[in-house]
Assembly symmetry: C2
């Protein structure tokens, strides 16, 4: 496969102070890219300047909103790669009020694409969606051709953004990759509340020596992915010419149960405990069941593979939050 180097290339990362965005920014700086981060640091969303501390002297940061058309036009100019991670990511907000998701995730993506179309149509565009776009798995592992029946507004708006990107790719010739990321965990996720990734939230509870509630019988399976692996996948795809125009899963074909997850967290943390808890009816309606990603496509197209065993990733995550707790709690 033909692989492009990101050294010396100008990149924009929307949502670049957030969980995955900041890890991506750090990795791209290490690869020699010239990184601009766009993040408006919306309170209670994932953005935090502390996340970017390791590279703060090596990047530019712009605090515009993704919906600010003039700023977006200015920012996309001259960029070789645009990684679009800005999102309304609060699952609880998205079920009580659908409008922010529609505005940020759908309209925000369209604003970015229109700016690219008019100002910089030769750029390369990489979007990170979610495995939640599939909804309940019809069979496991879940390939990219599986039905997409998302069970929440956040997941629907992510799917809509992906489909709009497909139009800009096919009709307007914008070179694009749409990734579908599984449950990602690791350093640099905000930990203030439980509206985001469940793994990191469980880690907080363990660090605080609290009881982790595991819904149902704890035997639901998910493929948990360490954030360095997710970032590796994003960069591997961006660098591969044959990934453009494609929808690509990023996950792990070997899922683990929630019970195994919390047992591992508690055993590494040496604090906290867990117990089974009944589903609320709302959670039950949105619960997509077992999930594992079919990653044969990304392996074939980019050569990427997840590298971090769950125990190792959890251990690094627990160490990170113990060390930097005051910046995340």
């Amino acid at each position: 496969m033909k692989r492009m180097s990101l050294r010396g290339r100008s990149v924009l990362i929307t949502g670049g102070a957030g969980f995955i965005g900041s890890n991506l920014a750090i990795a791209l700086v290490r690869k020699g890219a010239k990184v601009t981060v766009l993040d408006n640091l919306t309170p209670h969303q994932g953005g935090s300047l502390f996340n970017l501390k390791p590279v703060e002297d090596k990047i530019e940061i712009d605090f515009s909103d993704i919906r600010d058309e003039a700023s977006i036009k200015r920012l996309v100019r001259g960029k070789d790669y645009i990684f679009h991670l800005a999102r309304q990511t609060d699952h609880i907000l998205s079920i009580t009020n659908p409008f922010t998701d529609i505005d940020v995730n759908v309209r925000g993506t369209a604003i970015l694409l229109e700016a690219i179309r008019y100002v910089n149509p030769e750029t390369r565009f990489i979007y990170t969606g979610t495995r939640g776009q599939y909804g309940k798995a019809v069979k496991l592992p879940v390939g990219e051709d599986a039905p997409t029946n998302p069970r929440g507004i956040y997941e629907i708006t992510n799917l809509t953004a992906e489909k709009i990107i497909g139009i800009y790719n096919d009709v307007h010739g914008i070179k694009s990759i749409c990734l579908r990321l599984t449950n990602v965990y690791g350093p640099r996720s905000q930990m203030k509340h439980d509206h985001y990734g469940v793994v990191n939230w469980f880690i907080r509870l363990a660090i605080e020596d609290k009881v982790i509630p595991v819904f149902g019988d704890g035997m639901l399976k998910r493929d948990f992915l360490y954030v360095d692996d997710a970032v590796g996948a994003i960069i591997a795809c961006a660098a591969c010419d044959n990934c453009y125009g494609e929808i690509i899963n990023v996950g792990d074909p070997k899922p683990e149960t929630f019970r195994k997850l919390v047992e591992t967290i508690v055993s590494i943390a040496k604090s906290g405990s867990w117990e089974l808890a009944p589903f609320t009816s709302e959670r039950k309606a949105m619960e997509p069941g077992n999930f594992a990603s079919d990653i044969s496509k990304i392996r074939r197209l980019s050569g990427w593979n997840p590298k971090t065993p769950l125990r190792h990733g959890l251990s690094k995550t627990i160490d990170y939050y113990r060390k930097f707790r005051k910046h995340y709690w």
Copy 2:
């Protein structure tokens, strides 16, 4: 199957002065329903008061915008059935500017659903999407479980609205039906430009004795549905308890070629002609290929079947527009 009567029931039709909406309003008045039409008569969209002439003394009309939250809350109160047909429907606008589609079709639907959830959660909600939500057919005829890969912003936003409705059905308990209508033609569609239904546009060209351009080799197939049949399907589903919670195709399993369509139009109109024309590259990218709806589900759930042969429907349509041309051109 258990069938409910609409006689004496209060119904709201959003987009009720438009093509399908006005035909639906007239049919519902004839069935004895108390009809309120919501339509802001956006210029160059389908809404027209002339469409409602036959029932103007028997309905209420409200000119609010579907995005006007206060008006929507007022309008949904006390309605037994809400038929949601208001849409940004201009295919050409939707490809040059995605924002109106997102705002009207996605956010507008969410505004309506939120109003229902707070003001009238016991209502019954019927949504008319499009077969364009499928995109290119993987196999024919296309069933409701087929992949949904829409090839335009209009179609994407219709799919998004459908998926949001699914959440309100599943999570918030709003009783909903999502229909996917094939190419509908017939009286009461605006005819000012070619940004809407292709069949009606071809009829205008024939009436004006012009040349009808048929893209490609004319052998593409579609299932064309006369508007009275579409309206019959909408009402049949609304009246059937077992249709709620379902996504249901409305179409005809016997498709016809575009060549057959235009030959029939020209032979009935006794004016106009047709010729083959090459696809533009933009049209080519958005062209979904042959299409025919699998309607076994609607037959099973509601007993509905299309009744109007193509030749008969075209003939009634040509008569209508010849008679009322000045109101539509």
